[in-house]
Symmetry: C2
Subunit: 125 residues, 2 copies
């Protein structure tokens, strides 16, 4: 990446995601109200485009190798209020309103444990 | 990953990060007070260990291929209050107290723009 490209990406008003070698950026979903991080996954160009078109968070499933509409099986969609972009445009934070638990375990957020001593403990979120 | 491994990872109290093929997990730093996402980068086992030992956020720089103590050149360290782990243990959220702007551009957070129409606009964070 040239210095000019980097300057454009950092200070410009053009959305130009910097996809990695696998064609992915990081996508973080944050509850716009509780301000908890709900989940994080990867997004490819198709997932970014579909998210913008529909207002529902889409990701790219690396294990299944395809587009993944969050909530497609559970009905627990994430309604996207705003998409924030980081300095080098390789990560997005989506401010969302969740339509149910974000985690497939039934927890509101996937981040339901914290490191405590040598292990993990459950937290209330 | 076997079903047993997956169940252990999801419901257990053992911290066993699931590093990807490159030996990395996603590390998100969130301001414990303002509850803004400050930055996101990758962490390898060494970065995770050093973060736990020192209480200062460390990452793995993919471009430089080495351990990166956030703030090592700027002095803007991120003091880690708590480390949260997601269901499949391939991402961490660090609740931090920043000792200065988290972004190398001088912004408090790297996520200082949002998508607006076809472009980006600056936001106050």
């Amino acid at each position: 990446m040239s210095d000019a490209d980097q300057a454009d990406r950092e200070s410009g008003t053009v959305f130009m995601p910097r996809y990695d070698a696998q064609g992915l950026v990081i996508g973080i979903a944050m509850d716009a109200q509780s301000r908890e991080v709900l989940m994080v996954a990867f997004m490819d160009a198709e997932a970014v485009a579909r998210t913008r078109e529909t207002g529902l968070a889409h990701f790219h499933s690396r294990s299944r190798g395809k587009l993944w509409l969050k909530g497609e099986s559970s009905g627990h969609f994430l309604r996207v209020q705003e998409i924030r972009v980081d300095c080098d445009q390789d990560a997005l934070v989506m401010m969302v309103t969740p339509e149910g638990p974000a985690c497939h375990t039934g927890a509101r957020s996937c981040f339901y444990r914290r490191i405590a001593g040598d292990g993990l403990e459950r937290i209330e979120i």
